[in-house]
Amino acid sequence: MSLLKEPDLGTPARVGEATVDVEIDGQHVRVPEGTSVMRAAALAGIDIPKLCATDSLEPFGSCRLCLVEVEGGRGTPASCTTPVAPGMRVHTQTPKLDKLRKGVMELYISDHPLECLTCSANGDCELQDMAGVVGLREVRYGFEGENHFDAPKDTSNPYFDFDASKCIACSRCVRACGEVQGTFALTISGRGFDSKVTAGNGESFLDSECVSCGACVQACPTATLQERSVVELGMPNRTVLTTCAYCGVGCSFKAEMRGDEVVRMVPYKDGGANEGHSCVKGRFAFGYASHPDRVMKPMIRERITDPWREVSWEEAISYTAQRMRDIQDRHGVGAVGGITSSRCTNEEVYVVQKMVRAAFGNNNVDTCARVCHSPTGYGLKQTYGTSAGTQDFKSVAKADVIVVIGANPTDGHPVFGSRMKRRLREGAKLIVVDPRRIDLVRSPHVEATHHLQLAPGTNVAVVNAMAHVVVTEGLVDRDFVAERCEGFAEWAAFIARPEHSPEAVEQITGVPAAELRAAARLYATAPNAAIYYGLGVTEHSQGSTMVMGMANLAMACGNIGRDGVGVNPLRGQNNVQGSCDMGSFPHELPGYRHVSDDAVRTVFETLWGRTLLAEPGLRIPNMFDAAIEGSFRALFVHGEDIAQSDPNTKHVTAALSAMELVVVQDLFLNETSKFAHVFLPGTSFLEKDGTFTNAERRINRVRPVMAPKTGKHEWQIVCEIAQAMGYPMHYDDSSQIMDEIAITTPTFAGVSFRKLDEVGSIQWPCNDAAPEGTPIMHVDGFVRGKGRFIETTYVPTEERSTRRFPLILTTGRILSQYNVGAQTRRTPNVAWHPEDLLELHPHDAEVRGISDGDLVTLASRVGETSLRARITDRMPVGVVYTTFHHPVTGANVVTTENSDWATNCPEYKVTAVQVGLKQVSVATNELSTSALAD
């Protein structure tokens, strides 16, 4: 398509049933009450000139260009700040208005560099457009007066420049930073002629609180805030609508292109997940796709000590197929398996699991969700009947109380975090359950009512105590429970036991009983209360139990089945939901149906022409154990760096070393490929053609902006390996894969590329019962019929602090980096996070003689690494925290084999560790310094 410019109606939509009829330039228009005259005019097809107004921001009324005349009214009000009134008759074009607007434009232009022809925004500048619209032909004031032409340019941000000389002080950037992003990093400092946009307290953009989300760049009507890529490459000339490949929010973007080159990614206003907002990763950090480190040709080697040898696709595919079959002949059908990736499309994931089940002939397929949200799958299926969050993202705008448990949305899911902050600024109450004081606990215009700073590993005790308060204080929604749920009486008797009271568990959790009681009451008595959670819930030895505990709490309070409520996993990667939906788990076929279900197997056996096993296969940790034990000999790893991301690195690498064949399909050589025999180069999201499913079950199209740089789509490669193994598997294009998914999977029955192109996106289930999809689940009944209360006994983890390892390590991620960093480390995002840091409390630092920035050792019973210390009181005493974005740190060297009892999801969030200065003596100090210098 040509360059897509979305219409800008000037001010945000108002919602409500009451409407108002007005007449604008002789045209009648009916709009919701509260709509601005400017928006009403735009809806009638009449564009009123404007500069400070844009429909993503509340009206401001500063530019005085959008003046109108209202019959019977005085003066010339700004149409952006004037709401419609019944019977109002408005005129937008009169000689008087023309004269006023020209006068306004003359003032603007008298202090604006007249370098349009060489300006980077030439052709995309609203000031330029408005000069034309108002018919500006002269500037009577001249250009010799006092001006801002020499105002300094801030080029500190790696992605955009701030050229103050072009600023018209419309405040759109300032308002975008506050209203859309919720960071409030920008302000207008000074008065009158000295007014200017200022970042932080006068620092550079990079040094300020700016999170580089791009909302200010998006809002700027001139070239003041401009993407550096546009400055360097020029204006794009075509648009491809696609979906971000980073976190589980799944933002829709316009990839704006010049030829085959991406000039910029612009968040799409009609994107259901993001509605025009973005974060620093999605908007700017796409340069990895063309990074020189990318491998473009397949490679093989006999031994992992051999150098890689580039080969043709035919040789790589035939070698892989032959080795796989040979290993199966010698060690059995079950000796091989595959891992699907949440960074890949639904279609790619589907064909990998199909290859494993139909061509390999076993169920040894698992996905990286094993190490993040597999407990969500287990817990929500047990209680509600399906493995999915209950709400759409918009729902948070109706929540009166928001509970954030073990998640850090402003870093991990920043665009949803901004939605959440907007609702909190509107007055919703916030409860944060987290050992660490995440930014949401206290940030500009947001403050948690309760921060339950629990000891790591005690989630279940806390959620049980909250439920105890609900049950024993008569806060249960009896009607909801009676009508919608089962097992309540037994569960209520269990949870009402004294050992679950806040007072009884205070010693275990560290959460003051009174605070916990108050939080429980706040949650239970709110008209709408919603739970959002992340890996701080799932990555525990009781991850699945905790998911069920939250599900119990929500049911007990009737907080399921409408806007503003629900139990919502914030998925880590872009397609975690989709990869799980597509049958990536060894016990489930697509659509979360157990392999032992004869009827379900028959559907696939009929279509695929192969008999499928009725027994579950190996999960990822089981594969590692079986490899070391000797019964598992070959692994196809699709887009995952298990040697960096999975726990207990020593164990993982021992398993990989024990295998005869490791096949890695990825963009870059990584930690896992060090143990690989075949490397199949993958495609970036800019080359993929398929769909992603985000955390709200929203299926979005991923459209290719360029042909695969490697010459083949990943699904094609997988099909060709299956074919080379003797199993016919062919699709003409990826839409045929989705068609097969729709045929076999009832929740996807109504999904097709064609439908997605028509409606934009669809939230599953989408079938005859819900042809337009399902934004909110369990509205009239649970997927399993009745919601099931399940007893959730708190069982402490085996991982305890000891004299040798007295601290507890918990891990997480940071805004600018993404998971193992393979993508973001290859972008200028390293400006914000060049290395993993160990956060620890000042007390823990002081007793160890550690100063901020010191190189420290981090040791657990399974391994040791070193990294720099950041001393911060956001950590409680006794708990330390780090990220896992950099392989040089290898945070998972220290994490252990402990896992969730039900799903084997690793217990990343609780590892007993010791921290010490890297330099322990003068001699060692010299050695360490020398080593560092090297």
Binding site: N364, Q542, H587, S596, R619, N622, T793, S899, W901
Partner: protein, 73 residues
């Protein structure tokens, strides 16, 4: 000495069901293992019990008895 993987995993499950009535707990765990464990792991577990069951939670001994009743594929 480190526990064998299937022993460690089985024990991790057993501890979650310690508060259950033993018969019900064993049935629930057996159902869980049938649903989520690869047959080779169940076979290893059964063999381990037959070899004395060193290091296993006592509850798993009952679980294995139930697993034996169903043919392991």
């Amino acid at each position: 000495m480190e526990a064998l993987p299937y022993v460690r995993l089985a024990n991790e499950i057993a501890v979650q069901f310690r508060h259950w009535e033993p018969g019900e707990a064993a049935a629930e765990i057996a159902a869980h293992l049938r649903s989520f464990w690869d047959p080779r792991m169940r076979t290893q577990l059964i063999a381990h019990v037959e070899a004395g069951g060193a290091g296993l939670d006592v509850l798993i001994i009952d679980v294995v008895a139930l697993l034996r009743e169903q043919k392991v594929h």
